[in-house]
Symmetry: C2
Subunit: 265 residues, 2 copies
């Protein structure tokens, strides 16, 4: 399971303040904390800075990689911000995200083909948000076909089926789970990734829904997630599911987490 | 989701003591508590009473149904105990359980065909415990074929894939989940049921594993479970999963549980 730590996002007030005053120590602490908790990538997002986004995103990249040897997930719909951030990034970043929306696709394609990277391909159609499994699969197949046609290996594509709230439409959980299963079966080698929190929008006890959603999404084939790895209940769910799906030899990770006091029951 | 409340089992000390002194009030309280928490069936098991099992099981049946209008799950490998308990049971009981073991099959068949009942069919082969999906499916198919051949409707058969500990073999989770999916796909209308706690045998924080196992088992097609419905974290998992699988219209059950303070996050 590939974990992208989601916390360094300027939509969070503490991150916004740290980016504002360029408090490198705080940002690096947030990055290290996530890495220690199991993140394989650290997401960086400075979207709230609007016309200063390029500057702040580049600063985040240099700050995090200045003290931590981990690839980042460069999170922006802005091609200029991504292009500049990629230049400063050491190693192979993950780009979050391209989609089938014509403007976004056209402007991001040169960026993601400019050097080796992983790319999150959002199941957003040319004209509308997908609702069904079928719609998501159609968009995913088209994106995979185009991106591999541009020379991006299947193994570097992370399809995001686009999670929408069950409070808006109770079929939204099934639609995402079905899409994950279908995409993973149709394109062996591709990855699926998603954020969790949209699923529970508008409902009480959101963390409870989010972590159960993670459980069934992994069982449906999800192999990457954008989440807060310092959420111990969420990580306990993840450890349990990996154990139950036969991916934890000798139950070693589970028992180790227990012995280190990290396993919240 | 059909919930069989597991608590009235004389292997639990408080139940054994109550059955010993025929404390009907205590037994009835345990039954009502489970019914209020969502049980559709109340399991009754007096196995520890050995040569007094028939007497105590019949007493449990009369005691519970004396104060609660709910069908019971009569839980014993002993055909005499089951036959006597069935005579005292009002309505249609669930019988727990028949299997392919020759003696058990032969002696229980007349009992379960003596009057209408639901029957739990344990994936226990003639000679050995199953380990793989394939072995479980083979036993299930044979049991379904035989039982429907005897006139038991498919809808009244509850196949138990036989949960074994992941601590013994890390593939045991996948084997059960795969068997559930395969049985439910191959025999539309049949039910699958299991107990949860064997999965976590020998590991710390068993409840954490048990409830995550319930989550992925339901997502694989499990439609009945033998569990403790008064375990609020377990029931919160169940409510979340039903919500995520599109089975909770307007998120009504989830929100109601929250409003009643029953939803533990």
């Amino acid at each position: 399971m590939i974990i992208v730590g989601e916390k360094i996002n300027t939509s969070r007030r503490s991150i916004s303040e740290a980016a504002e005053k360029k408090d490198a120590e705080f940002i690096l602490m947030m990055a290290r904390e996530q890495a220690e908790a199991g993140a394989g990538f650290i997401d960086v997002n400075a979207g709230t800075f609007l016309d200063q986004e390029v500057d702040r995103l580049c600063w985040l990249v240099e700050t995090v990689q200045g003290g931590l040897d981990l690839p980042l997930c460069l999170d922006s719909p802005n091609p200029d911000a991504l292009a500049e951030a990629m230049k400063r990034h050491k190693g192979e970043p993950m780009i979050n995200s391209i989609s089938l929306e014509p403007d976004r696709y056209r402007s991001l394609l040169p960026v993601i083909t400019s050097r080796p990277c992983r790319v999150i391909a959002l199941c957003m159609a040319e004209t509308s948000m997908p609702t069904t499994v079928e719609e998501r699969f159609t968009v995913a197949a088209e994106l995979i076909s185009r991106l591999t046609g541009e020379g991006i290996p299947l193994e570097k594509i992370y399809v995001d089926p686009l999670v929408q709230p069950v409070s808006v439409d109770t079929n939204m959980g099934l639609a995402v789970l079905g899409a994950i299963r279908r995409i993973m079966e149709a394109f062996p080698g591709v990855n699926t990734i998603c954020g969790l929190s949209n699923i529970s929008y508008g409902l009480p006890h959101r963390h409870l829904i989010n972590r159960n959603f993670l459980a069934v999404a992994i069982a449906s084939g999800l192999n990457a997630a954008i989440l807060d790895p310092t959420d111990r209940q969420l990580m306990a769910t993840l450890l349990s599911i990996e154990l139950l799906l036969g991916r934890d030899e000798y139950c070693q990770n589970y028992i180790e987490a227990y012995e280190n006091g990290r396993l919240v029951a």
